[in-house]
Amino acid sequence: MVPLEHVIGLSGLLFVIGTIGALTRRNLIVILMSIELMLNAANLAFVGFARAWGQHDGHIFVLMVIVVAACEVAVGLGIVVALFRNRESVNVEDVSLLKW
């Protein structure tokens, strides 16, 4: 098996890339995709630890995360479509009413 450090390192790297995307991009759809990437990085850590411990709990948790990610995408893209109808834009700068 590959060293666990490398698996967790890959997971952390993908999470940081996703964080950078969610923080710096202005396109709402790309921000949602970056959040998907962060969820996937967490999934990778779960699978790596499940492999290390030799138990399935991590796999079950990954299945739950996939379910939550699917829900998040469905609702999030519903919001994006409704937003585009009302504002003709998916730029987060145009919908900053709730931003401090």
Partner: protein
């Protein structure tokens, strides 16, 4: 280098490069979504190396097959194929993002050597549909049932949100 290690590092490089391709692609949202598909496939290969066969299959089916397709569907429905927005101009936001990324990496690297468990021997049939299914339908049955409720709520919510007018 064993075949396992080769596939792991190959898929890891693939996932990281395509993830960067998604985040840094300012021109074309469709290409960003396709990069996300490549990331998901790379992660599925990593899952196979880590003996999580069922999770790898579900990763391909749900992420590459369903979630990214919904993304593409919305991008094309709203005709956002060419992304005309520029990344944020604010220096402060960029600096905060870079700082946060660096801080996360540093915290991570300092904690990692002491926090990891030693790798255990694997039981027979680890990560297959039988073993994971048994755990899912016995110990984690409640979580499984609750997730169906969550999916129903998300489905109703998405339909209501995307509706033109609520009667």
């Amino acid at each position: 280098m064993t075949a396992q290690a080769f596939f792991f590092y190959f898929a890891a490089a693939l996932a990281v490069v395509s993830a960067l391709g998604m985040v840094l692609n300012f021109r074309n949202t469709v290409a960003a979504a396709m990069s996300l598909v490549v990331t998901m496939i790379g992660l599925a290969i990593v899952y196979v190396v880590l003996e999580a066969h069922l999770v790898a299959a579900l990763q391909i089916m749900v992420y590459a097959g369903a979630i990214v397709v919904v993304f593409l569907f919305v991008v094309m429905l709203l005709n956002l194929r060419s992304d005309t927005f520029h990344p944020a101009r604010q220096r402060l936001l960029k600096a905060a993002g870079a700082l946060l990324a660096l801080g996360l990496t540093a915290a991570f690297l300092s904690l990692m050597p002491t926090a990891l468990p030693t790798v255990q021997e694997l039981p027979e049939g680890f990560g297959g549909y039988r073993a994971v299914g048994l755990a899912l339908f016995t110990r984690f049955l409640l979580a499984f049932e609750v997730s169906s409720l969550l999916l129903l709520a998300a489905m109703v919510g998405a339909v209501v949100l995307a509706k033109r007018r609520i009667d």
